[in-house]
Amino acid sequence: MSRILTMLVAMATIVVALAGGVATAYLVGGFVEAHGFTGASRLTNIVFLMLVFVMIIATLLTLAERKWSAFMQDRVGPNRARLGIPGLKNRSLGGIPHIITDVLKMLTKEDFIPGMANRFLFNLGPLLAFAPVFALFAVVPAGPTVTVLGQKVDMVVATPDFGILYLFAIASLAVYGTALAGWSSNNKFALLGGVRASAQMISYEVALGLSLVGLFLTFSSVQLPALVGDVANALSPATGQGQYLWSTQVFGLDIGIPAWGFIIQPLGFIGFFVASFAETKRAPFDVPEGESEIIGYFVEYSGMKFGMFMISEFVEVVVLAGVTTALFFGGHNLPIFGEALANNAFMQEHGWVYGTILGTVFWLKVLFLIWVQLVIRWTFPRFRYDQIQSLGWKILLPVGLVNVFVTAALVLWDPSLRALGVVGILEIAVFVALTLSKKENSEAGAHGDAHGHDHGHAAPAGAHADPHPSAAGAH
């Protein structure tokens, strides 16, 4: 009971903290636009989005992951570290002090460089692994464009024309850090890890890119703010994922099924999520680390250099959640009541309140997707190296290709996207049905008679059940 209360309090704290952060970001953005120069809010966005939000969430994730995994495994999780402050001495504070101890430990450990390692590349590795994932968030819009203090303020660092292509380009740079770390350590285990990482990350980039083509076709854009879109208001119709597939008005409030990416592009969503999961190198795709086989590409790293690899993994988790939210979960848009809120006179007058609400919605969606990733991480065992390749090339790639053609045909046939929505909902229903049927089979098969127990080796559902194990977990 106290655990549930603690979690509720923690959730409320998180929502309040997010709302406070977003409100501050909007107000400061409006202030510097008004008193500084045009475009100054983009600079504050760098600070707020990338340093405050992404970094703080990633830092807290180091604890959240351990706490959540403990929760899943009937453990208590980290609770030993204490703050030596009177009054707090005997409180575990949910393990928060562990973050401080971790950081201190990383910073004060010996920075060991193996004798035969290539020093320059060895030092470059963690930086190359860290910087690209950190820069990824630049194009992700974390809130609507609103008017604050008479100035238009948006919640994105950059809106280049090439939009999501920036994401692909920068994401593929991360492989250098990993491969270099593995190679320059002059350690055979690390080398194996580096080779595995480069093969895996490069092959999954193909599937990653392909899985999003359907989405580009649907919304005719590669820019993330355009993909996220806006709800309809008095001046302009809805765009992007802000529009409804079907909607109706109830007591002056709008409800309906929004045109979110995962509804109209479920295959694209699964492909993207799996592929980007593989890019983050977390379980079940953690063969480059493979701690029980080859210890990992960072086996020779110690101290803060190792910490850079770890924190970049967590930043990747946040960025992946952010990008997925923007692409497939409607970004900052509300599922229902979006138009009512946008056209509310108070909201139109006080833009920053509107921005705060929707910005908080965005970050809550991000947190949800982070949670999904944690659950997947702690549920599934690790793939084998060649199974990862065959999943990428033999399943995700063809599925992505089929998705492109089907999407193109449906968009051509019905530009209102409703046909796409019907097909998408059917696909989701099929996935749910497959997932559920698998469960029944496992119950029937696992408790068979002791003697012919193993004869049901190739269970009927096992063969076709789920080519996307991690995505099935997400549903």
Partner: protein
């Protein structure tokens, strides 16, 4: 490194042939296989065993298990102590299931003496053995999950194991090194209220088994990783001398508890799970099912355990009761002679085996009648299993080594003695 690669006669080896570099530009890129050391200190090597693995890319071309890091001179040590004093050494063979080693050794000594132990002692031995079979299998299945990246099944297994070890502690006084039982029976009766506690523990263990089962058995990734990897045919397995769950996973229905029942095993109703393919998945399934069967045996044994003495009433073998030692001259003398000279096991030799958690735990004992073993040899079930590892894994991928090494469940302590 280079000598084992065995280049063909006409291909110059760049490492040793100086003329190799003359035609270097025309030659194909020279490749060299990589030798890595897994262990003796490596997350996947239980205990300390060292696997010298030669890799071509990720494919294992040669593997050489090197044992001996845990060698403690078990057999020689036993020759210097009395039969009863051997008991603590047997704890350290398979440290995951110490009671099975204890009881197996005692059983062999009793066979050498020609002694029938009281019925209650036989029941307690069955209960202790099956409890430790559970802990051993839980560790094995949990570690299989862990080393493939699934941390949760391992911790579920550990929770059940901790509960069982609490019960074992209540019974024997120790968590791992139980040294339980004596020649002729058991040294300590079941504690009061213990059986009810064990029933509770078993219920919780069953729940946790369902969780582990649900996380692994139908998990696509787990099935892909384990099915058709680490395959050995039944014939090969027999040739290598495999026994226990690993052999049964190949489809050979051989369980000493059924084939040649000892103690009171024939009174219990239990099944012996048999696999089909001899791969990692079947070994995993067999172990999982054996745990359920162990729970069945335990419940039956605890429900039907008779009252009565727990050790033979023979002062040449069992220590006399304390009132006799303190009160009578016969008691003192028997106590003194037993402690100082040991049990006078008649001269002779014997081979006896019991079904330990990983297979046939055999004891070859020779006595020269002087109160100390002349020779103690253990047929450790882990040794043949480990010996077959190169046969199984050569030509397969490095990631296959990990589940294979887990499911054969070689225990360093007993292999290296």
């Amino acid at each position: 490194m280079a000598d084992s690669a065995k280049p063909e006669a006409h291909a110059p080896n760049p490492d040793i042939d100086s003329y190799a570099h003359e035609s270097e530009l025309e030659a194909h890129l020279q490749t060299k296989s990589m030798v890595i050391n897994m262990g003796p200190s490596h997350p996947a090597t239980h205990g300390t065993v060292r696997l010298k693995v030669e890799l071509d890319g990720e494919t294992i071309t040669k593997i050489d298990p090197e044992i001996g890091f845990l060698h403690r001179g078990f057999q020689k040590s036993c020759e210097n102590v009395t039969w009863t004093q051997c008991l603590p050494y047997t704890d350290r063979l398979n440290y995951l299931s110490a009671m099975m080693n204890n009881f197996g050794f005692l059983n062999a000594v009793e066979k050498l003496i020609g002694l029938e132990i009281p019925e209650r002692a036989q029941y307690i031995r069955v209960i202790g053995s099956e409890l430790h079979r559970l802990t051993d299998h839980l560790t094995c299945v949990g570690a299989t999950g862990l080393e493939m990246g699934g941390f949760a099944p391992f911790l579920y297994g550990m929770e059940a194991r901790e509960l069982i070890q609490d019960r074992v502690t209540e019974l024997t006084g120790a968590r791992l090194t139980t040294s339980f039982g004596r020649v002729g029976g058991i040294n300590r009766d079941l504690p009061e209220g213990w059986i009810a506690k064990v029933h509770k523990t078993l219920t919780r263990t069953e729940e946790l088994l369902v969780e582990m089962d649900g996380l692994l058995t139908r998990n696509r990734i787990f099935v892909d990783r384990t099915k058709d990897t680490g395959v050995i045919t039944a014939d090969d397995a027999i040739d290598y001398g495999w026994t226990g769950p690993a052999l049964r996973a190949c489809g050979v229905d051989y369980d000493i508890r059924k084939v040649r029942p000892y103690w009171v095993y024939e009174r219990f109703d239990f099944d012996v799970p048999v696999g089909e393919h001899g791969d990692n998945y079947d070994r995993y399934l067999v172990r999982l099912e054996e745990m359920r069967q162990s729970i069945r045996i335990l419940r039956q044994a605890m429900d039907t355990i008779p009252a009565g003495p727990i050790i033979v009433d023979d002062w040449r073998i069992a220590l006399p009761p304390k009132p006799e030692v303190y009160g009578t001259i016969e008691g003192v003398m028997a106590h003194f002679k037993l402690v100082m000279e040991g049990i006078q096991v008649p001269p002779g030799e014997v081979y006896d085996s019991t079904e330990a958690s990983n297979g046939e735990l055999g004891w070859y004992l020779v006595s020269d009648g002087r109160g100390r073993p002349y020779k103690v040899h253990v047929r450790a079930p882990g040794f043949p299993v480990l010996a077959a590892l190169p046969h199984i894994i050569t030509g397969k991928m490095l990631p296959d080594l990990v589940p294979t090494f887990d499911t054969i469940n070689m225990i360093g302590g007993e292999v290296e003695q």
